[in-house]
């Protein structure tokens, strides 16, 4: 009697369970049933909900019409760490649920083993792209992804304030520091209490690696780990670069900058409370938004260099790759090539202001008409510094150690020299024999 009562009581749950199982079965057959008959269905994860997704969707739909195949779009988490975790989990399990994934420029080393070599499908198209990006996507001679969207650090400045104080956009970090200090002090004296000279991404996360790499590289201090695998970070130039950055905090940069990501920096700059900002190209459209207090007062240039150094912007951006476990590799590769093709990149540049990865597209009149500042980006991308992806699967560990070391120096917990020396030792340990 007890059991029969239990059954009646839980009947609600049971029927729900049955229902779910039934749904599961039906959807899974729905997804996998059409294996070899008729047009293939591809699952593509190409961005998170928002313009990102919309821009991808339009391209995929065009491809569907053209190729007669079907593609299902799956949104990925906005946080790149979460997205990477998700992909790792799926790929490690050998799951074929996703055919095409959008990967960050620093992931090839991590995910490379699970991605399809696209060389056989490109028919030599890789030469159209920025060489640095193609190099980044090539692991052991295999082209495992194709650049889809480019990104690099830029310097934003307040045209109006620079003009007011007779400054020109800075070419070196020293000029930036001096100008920032001068304008900040003068404006504060004039009553603009909240104004700061320079904001950047100082929180201990991947963004700090990008920022700090720019400082170090522009000082000629190398790229943490050189392409040949040598750990180079413990050098006087790198120390000088980080020491300089540490001197900003609390002086021309708010103490809170040590917790800033991109959006916090933009928030300060866009509210009119910063003279200079280091950020990615996306901030341009925002700063020029119609309700922006700094609309039409903003200028963008390449990041400053050190005296005698070279300008360096950290390369960012996204690539499209095909999973090794895909059941339809050819179809998937075809979609990747379509989406990364010049025509599609042009459309995205015009409609969504996405930075293309093909230099030629930057010369397109329509593109430039829509995005005048794109012209200045080509040089930046050409000179962009890749992050030390030579570390391969250990990149995340290298980066984490690096940003923690830099953060400690910025927060003045340790002198830059000590911090970087300790970092180099850690990295040696991490490297073991080879990367």
């Amino acid at each position: 009697m007890k059991i029969s009562l239990a059954m009646t009581k839980s009947a609600g749950i049971k029927s729900y369970v049955t229902l779910c199982l039934f749904t599961a079965l039906s959807t899974s057959t729905g997804a996998c049933g059409k294996k070899d008959k008729g047009p293939a269905e591809i699952t593509i994860s190409c961005g998170s909900v928002g313009q990102d997704f919309d821009s991808c969707k339009a391209g995929v739909e065009a491809w569907e019409k053209k190729s007669g195949n079907k593609a299902k779009l799956v949104a990925s988490p906005a946080s790149s760490t979460d997205a990477l975790a998700l992909y790792q989990q799926l790929l490690a399990a050998g799951a074929s649920d996703i055919d095409i994934l959008r990967i960050d420029v620093v992931w090839p080393g991590t995910l490379g083993g699970f991605l399809l070599d696209l060389t056989p499908y490109t028919k030599g198209a890789e030469k159209n792209y920025f060489a640095s990006m193609i190099a980044n996507d090539t692991i052991d001679g295999h082209l495992i992804a194709i650049p889809w969207q480019a990104d690099a650090g830029l310097l934003y400045y307040r045209k109006d304030l620079l003009e007011k104080y007779g400054e020109t956009p800075p070419a070196t970090w020293d000029q930036l520091t001096t100008a920032a200090k001068k304008i900040q002090d003068a404006e504060r004296a004039a009553g603009q209490k909240d104004l700061w000279g320079f904001v950047f991404q100082g929180k201990a996360y991947e963004g700090l690696t990008c920022n700090a790499l720019e400082w170090v590289a522009s000082y000629g201090g190398g790229t943490i780990v050189e392409p040949d695998g040598k750990i180079s970070i413990d050098n006087p130039k790198a120390v000088a670069a980080v020491t300089m950055a540490a001197s900003w905090v609390g002086d021309i940069s708010p103490p809170g900058v040590l917790a800033y990501e991109e959006e916090e920096a933009r928030g300060v700059f866009q509210s009119g409370n910063a003279v200079f900002m280091r950020n990615w190209p996306y901030a341009w459209a925002q700063a020029q938004g119609k309700d922006s207090p700094v609309k039409d007062k903003v200028g963008v240039i390449a990041l400053p260099k050190a005296e005698g150094g070279r300008g360096a912007a950290t390369l960012g951006g996204w690539n499209l790759a095909v999973s090794k476990f895909s059941k339809h590799p050819e179809v998937a590769a075809d979609l990747v090539l379509y989406l990364t093709g010049a025509e599609e990149q042009k459309r995205r540049a015009i409609e969504y202001s996405v930075q293309p990865t093909i230099p030629r597209v930057y010369e397109d009149k329509d593109v430039l008409a829509k995005n005048p500042f794109f012209a200045s980006l080509v040089e930046t991308f050409k000179n962009a510094v890749p992050r030390p992806t030579v570390a391969g699967g250990k990149y995340n560990e290298v980066s984490s150690a690096f940003w923690n070391a830099v953060h400690a120096a910025l927060a003045k917990e340790k002198p830059a020299k000590d911090s970087l020396t300790a970092l180099a030792a850690d990295l040696e340990r991490l490297k073991g024999g080879k990367w």
């Binding site: 961005g47 988490p77 906005a78 509210s271 309700d291 202001s353």
Partner: protein
Amino acid sequence: MKARNLATGALFYLLVAVIVFSAVFPFYYAILSSMKSGTALFRADYFPLSWNLGNYRSVFRDQPFATNLWNSLQVSFAVVALSLFLAITAAFALARIQFRGRTLLLLTILGVSMFPQVAVLSGMFQMIRGLGLYNNLLGLVLSYMIFTLPFTVWVLTTFMRDLPKELEEAAILEGASSWVIVTRVFMPLMWPALVTTGLLAFIAAWNEYLFALTFTLTNDERTVPVAIALMSGASPQELPWGNIMAASVIVTLPLIALVLAFQRRIVSGLTAGAVKG
């Protein structure tokens, strides 16, 4: 005396006000932010400047947010029903029956809560796929048991222990089986505990992110926290703050409704009149 009463009363309401203010203000601020866009988001305001519902519209327009809400509701209700059912039967055994190994069992159940969620993630992922529950809400319901069950079992056991022994004995003498005792004698007396643990389990399931992200794939099977985490602006770096706040407000409303609806069940003195005079 009267003046003192008045003063205590005023102090009491002041305390209530402080509590309500600290609890609600961030949420109020979220509502404010949800009606802002662009640069306004970076400004500290205390009152709404305009009633702009654009963010709410775009939340529903850009993705199957209604489906996500519905998924979350199904999952959370199923989690609550299943964990309460499993927990109340288990709690009866653990709280009211003497048997060997009971203490060990209680500690083992507690032990399940001692592993970090992320540590069981990959094992759980394998299991979910093995059971064929990947990208299926049922997989979520099952996996959520790992954090709702220990908690509900423990809390209900604690509460069940305190119910008068005589009630159970009276029922036994009248021929009630253990099942009848649980369902018809104890359960009605445990409403405060059931509603409370149920609510806490509901909210835990409602807000769960890591499993939901990992065990579902398509937007149609995803739950609300994942849906929020999927939102992005024009570029990966941009945080669509207005949309996220709008979504959070929407997500929080059903919970508030739920709390208000179950209010009456969290009333005091359910056991009054059971024993003593």
